[in-house]
Each structure stands twice: as structure tokens, then as C-alpha cells.
């Protein structure tokens, strides 16, 4: 949940306060902001930026983590795009984008639109409940769903209750394991999206609804002309957060299937982990990490671009 998008505008102007300061005082004062940044920047540079640069650097090397590495140029990248595992992992991420992002966002927007200006008693309680997955460790979520999906687990129990007898061990099934994990993402993200859009819809100016009403707009036109444009900021945020979550999924897969059965649920995160820490192929793991980072940055930029351009 650490993700936000976009950048605010320029900090507001707070200069022009030092009318009588001497030149030296002004120079000393000019250094002050940087001093405040030193601690945070130091941590950030040493433990985020430098490793990020090293990943990029290592992605051009063949290195097993022990002996000296060899420069191989773009060989790792060529290999990645021909590697069926990498392609499988990335295509599984696409499935996750549907279940982590598309479904929760649609559910969230629809829900917020229906609810829009209504007063619902007890909403705070429901909000608290549906938001719970956000504060639980993904490992615990993975364990809980691992039991849920077993042949004798709750999912089959519920299906049986609705007259669909099933003994499928969902996570052990080549066809179902991937969508099954994906739906856990839906479970995690829908509450976040619902609450996010709900707070957004409360902010839309009631006058706009009245104007739409006066112009004779029905519920659908009202939705597309007032609610949806009004929710644009939330739409950008929700899409960004959920896409990033979909692509960087690791914990959930690690705990539920470890990528199996076969390779039916491998994702970039598990491939990076396995390649680096199980196979010791550090260069190639770095290449995968670079590709993942680039895909995420590109998608985030893309989402922001598309949703901003559609200004009504």
C-alpha cells in the first residue's frame, strides 16, 4: 500500500521573508533545507537507489554470485524474451491485472455509483470490515486461502451448499490454480477500491447531479457524465495501486503454490527469487528484475496518461 501516483505542483512560495538578512546569513539559511533532507536521502540512496542501479548493472553480466562476472551485453535480455518461463510469468501477471485491478475497480465504481449520495446506516461498520484484508499479512492471507482451496476446504463446502458438489483441490489443478490465486487478489483489492471510490463519490459536487437531473439525464447518463468523471482521481489511484500489486505479487504465490503445479502459477517475483537465490544466476535474475520494473513504470505512466487525457 505504499503506492501513490503523480506529483503535486510546485511547493508554494515561502521565500521573501528575509528582507534584512546579510548575504552570509542568507547563504547559511539556503543550506538549511538540505540538512533536513540528509538523513532520509542517505537511507534512500544507500538502500534503494544504489541497489536499483546495481540491478541494472548486473543485468548486463553473467554472474553466479561467487566468481568474477562476465559482461554479456544484452544477452540476458535476449534470453529473457525467448525464455518460455519468463513469458509465462509475465502472461500470468496479465491474468492478475484482471483479477487484482479490473474486477475490483469495476466493482468499486459500480458500488460507489449506486451508493452515491445515499445515507446508509452502519456504513462505517461495513467499511471497516471490507477493508480488513489491507492490514493482514499477505502470508497469513495466503495460508488462509491455501486451506480454503483444499479439496475438503471451505470453497468446495460453499459450492456444495449451492448445489455444485466439488472436490477439486483448486491450487493443485493446472487449469484452476492461477485464477484461484488471482481471485485472492480480487478478495484483497475489492474492499480497498470500494472504500476509495466511496470517499471519492462523496466529494463530487451535488450541484452536478442536480444539473444532470435538470437536463433530463437518466441514471446511466448521470453515471457516465457526472460520477465517472468525478471519480477520475480515485480511478487513477486505484488502477495504479492494484496494477502494481498485481505485478509484484510474490508472497501470495510463494505461500500458496510456490509457482506450481508445474509452472502454472509462476510470476515475475517468484522467478526472480528462484533464479537468484535458488539457482544463483544473479545476472539473469537482475535482468528479470529490470524487465519487471520497466513494465511496472511503463504501465503506471500509461494509466496516468490515458486517464488524464480523457478529460471530459
Amino acid at each position: 500500500m505504499t503506492i501513490m501516483k503523480g506529483v503535486g505542483s510546485q511547493p508554494r512560495n515561502r521565500t521573501g521573508r528575509s528582507g534584512h538578512a546579510t548575504r552570509r546569513q542568507r547563504a547559511a539559511r539556503a543550506a538549511i533545507p538540505y540538512l533536513y533532507l540528509v538523513p532520509a536521502a542517505t537511507f534512500f540512496i544507500i538502500f534503494v537507489l544504489v541497489p536499483l542501479g546495481q540491478t541494472l548493472y548486473l543485468s548486463f553480466y553473467d554472474w553466479n554470485g561467487i566468481s568474477a562476472g562476465t559482461w554479456v551485453g544484452v544477452d540476458n535480455f535476449v534470453r529473457a524474451f525467448q525464455d518460455p518461463d519468463t513469458i509465462a510469468a509475465l502472461s500470468h501477471s496479465l491474468v492478475f491485472i484482471i483479477t487484482f485491478c479490473v474486477i475490483p475497480v469495476i466493482l468499486g465504481v459500480t458500488f460507489a455509483a449506486v451508493l452515491s449520495k445515499q445515507q446508509v446506516r452502519g456504513l462505517a461498520f461495513f467499511r471497516t470490515v471490507i477493508f480488513v484484508p489491507q492490514v493482514i499479512s499477505s502470508v497469513v492471507i495466503g495460508v488462509a486461502w491455501r486451506w480454503m482451496y483444499q479439496d475438503t476446504g471451505t470453497v468446495n463446502q460453499v459450492l456444495g451448499f449451492f448445489g455444485i458438489p466439488s472436490t477439486t483441490p483448486w491450487l493443485g489443478d493446472f487449469t484452476w490454480a492461477l485464477p484461484a490465486i488471482g481471485l485472492v487478489g480480487t478478495w484483497v483489492m475489492t474492499g480497498l477500491c470500494m472504500v476509495l471510490f466511496l470517499s471519492g463519490v462523496g466529494r463530487i459536487d451535488g450541484d452536478l447531479y442536480d444539473a444532470a437531473k435538470v437536463d433530463g439525464a437518466g441514471p446511466f447518463r448521470e453515471f457516465f457524465n457526472v460520477t465517472l468523471p468525478g471519480l477520475r482521481p480515485e480511478l487513477i489511484v486505484a488502477t495504479t495501486i492494484t496494477i502494481i500489486a498485481a505485478l509484484r505479487t510474490f508472497d501470495l504465490v510463494f505461500v500458496t503454490t510456490q509457482g506450481g503445479p508445474g509452472k502454472s502459477t509462476i510470476v515475475p517475483g517468484t522467478e526472480i527469487y528462484r533464479t537468484a537465490f535458488r539457482e544463483g544466476d544473479i545476472g539473469y535474475a537482475s535482468t528479470l528484475a529490470v524487465i519487471l520494473a520497466v513494465v511496472i513504470f511503463a504501465l503506471v505512466r500509461g494509466v496516468n496518461y490515458v486517464l488524464r487525457e480523457e478529460k471530459a
Binding site: 506529483v7 534512500f44 544507500i46 534503494v48 470500494m194 472504500v195 447531479y209 502494481i244 520494473a293
Partner: protein
């Protein structure tokens, strides 16, 4: 749904917005067609959503009370609930040690990260200086970047510093990783504080540090509390880093320990479930107490950026 006359002010505002005079009561009929129906549907939807959200949690709770050695049954209240599974998970299952390790990590990460991001947010939010935008963009990277993108070199760097299997080895990268969010969060808080307040203190001759501590920090307390709570939850739940850096069981944190046990102790499903619930308790308790703050923190943090 009693129909009440809205105060005069909004009526005027509405009239100007619509460019024709609208009777104040005109917005009510919008809901007449559907009020009862949609209200019922809303409650049904909210209830179903809540049940779906709670189902896995209730399931794992019911599994945790089954006799040791049983395989996973679905949702069923055990004939003889084995509360002793919790005692066993806490003592012999080593979850007490895992919890302690997680607590130590969070106890360092949270205050340090809060402190350094308050300082940085103060600079970004209230001061104008050369390069502020570039520096701010630099922190922005931390919000989008997947952790997977740095974890490999991080492992080798920390190893060369002798920080593998040492709590400090996860603390330092966690602090760095969470810095990005805090800088954003505190920056937007400080930007929202009244400029006049800072000006007045400055005219009184207060130094910038003095202004921060005596003028702004008292105001910032709620924002800082939210930030600290979110940091605690993230630090407590962090998995990949702990998995990679803390390999020996003595130093492992709770999620990493659980994540590894799940592959190894398949014979002890009730015990693992009990452990999973134990490690969720701290964040859940925090959530029950501070849910408004946590929800609005996550939402605002997301939207403000």
C-alpha cells in the same frame, strides 16, 4: 429520508451552477424510483461482501481449533475446540520468538523512519530551495519501484557488510523503502499548515528547528500517528526481505517464519493456523482501535500523492 428544506445558501449556489433557478426540493425525486429497492440491494451487497471478506479468516480460525494432526476441514466448529493449539504454537511452535523478532524490527524501523521523514517532509513542505523538485522525484521512485528490483544486490551488499542474519539487515532497507511514502505524507501535511503560523514564528526570531518542534509538531501529531501506524503494519507484515536476509530461525520475523513453516510442517495444519492468527493479532488490534485513521491514511496517502 424526511424531506427538509435545504438552507438558502446552497440553493443559491445551485441556481448559479445550473444557470437557471431550481427549486431546492428538486433533487429529492431522483431517489424516489429506487430508494427502497436500492437500499435493500445495498445492504444485501454490503452484507455479502462482508461475509466473503470474513470467510477465509473464520475458516482459518476454525481450522486452528481442530485436533492436532487433522487435515483441513472446511468451515465447521470443532466438537472439542483445541485452544491448546495456541499455547503449543506460542511455545513449541516458536511463534513467541518470531513475534519478538518482528517486534524488535518494528520498534526500530517505525521511530527512525518517522523521524527522518518528518524532517524531509518539513523541508519539502515549507521551504523553497534549488533542486527540490528533482529531489522529490527521486523519492517518488521508491513508491512505484517493486522491491524485487533491488533485493538481489541488496542481499550481496548486506552480506559484505556482515548484515545477513542480523535484524539490522532488514531494518535498514525497510527504513529506506518506507521513506518514500513518509516524505510524501509529511510533505503534504506541512504544505497544508497555515503559512501565517510559520511566518509569525519566524518574525519572532525562531529558528527553523524551533518552528518545527514548537509550532508544527504539536499540529502534526495526528498525521504522525497515522504514519507510524501504517509503518508498523508494513514492517510487521514485510515478507520478501525477511525471507532473503534472515535465514536462521533465531532471527526470523513472524511472516517469514510462517511462510517457511507452511512448506515444512504440513502435518501440523491446526498449529500453523493458530500461528497465523497469533501473528495477525497485533495489526488487527491496532486496526480495531485506529481503523478510521488507518483507512483514511491509506486513502489520503494514495490520493494526495
Amino acid at each position: 429520508m424526511a424531506i427538509e428544506a435545504p438552507p438558502a445558501q446552497p440553493a443559491i449556489k445551485r441556481a448559479t451552477a445550473v444557470h437557471r433557478v431550481v427549486k431546492p426540493t428538486s433533487r429529492r425525486p431522483r431517489w424516489v424510483w429506487s430508494t427502497a429497492l436500492s437500499r435493500g440491494a445495498i445492504y444485501a451487497f454490503l452484507s455479502i461482501s462482508s461475509v466473503i471478506v470474513l470467510l477465509p479468516l473464520v475458516s482459518i480460525f476454525s481450522v486452528s481449533l481442530q485436533p492436532a494432526g487433522t487435515s483441513v476441514g472446511g468451515l465447521q466448529w470443532p466438537a472439542d475446540p483445541q485452544w491448546s493449539n495456541y499455547v503449543a504454537a506460542w511455545t513449541t511452535g516458536s511463534f513467541s520468538r518470531l513475534m519478538m523478532n518482528s517486534l524488535v524490527v518494528a520498534a526500530v524501523v517505525v521511530p527512525v523512519t518517522v523521524t527522518i521523514t518528518v524532517l524531509a517532509g518539513y523541508a519539502f513542505g515549507t521551504m523553497k530551495f534549488r533542486g527540490s523538485n528533482v529531489l522529490f522525484y527521486m523519492f517518488l521512485i521508491g513508491l512505484v519501484m517493486p522491491f524485487e528490483a533491488t533485493v538481489v544486490p541488496l542481499y550481496y551488499n548486506l552480506r559484505s557488510m556482515g548484515l545477513i542474519n542480523v535484524p539490522l539487515g532488514v531494518m535498514l532497507p525497510q527504513i529506506a523503502l518506507y521513506t518514500a511514502f513518509g516524505v510524501f505524507w509529511m510533505r503534504s501535511f506541512f504544505r497544508s499548515t497555515p503559512l501565517a503560523l510559520i511566518e509569525a514564528a519566524r518574525i519572532d526570531g525562531a529558528s527553523s528547528l524551533r518552528i518545527l518542534f514548537s509550532v508544527l509538531l504539536p499540529l502534526a501529531r495526528p498525521a504522525i500517528l497515522t504514519l507510524a501506524t501504517l509503518y508498523f503494519i508494513w514492517s510487521w507484515n514485510e515478507f520478501l526481505l525477511a525471507l532473503v536476509i534472515l535465514q536462521s530461525p533465531e532471527v526470523q520475523t513472524a511472516p517469514a517464519g510462517l511462510g517457511l513453516f507452511v512448506g515444512q510442517r504440513l502435518s501440523d495444519i491446526p498449529g500453523l493456523s493458530a500461528g497465523a492468527i497469533i501473528i495477525s493479532i497485533p495489526t488487527l488490534v491496532l486496526y480495531v482501535i485506529l481503523n478510521r485513521k488507518i483507512i483514511s491514511g491509506i486513502l489520503q496517502g494514495a490520493v494526495k500523492g
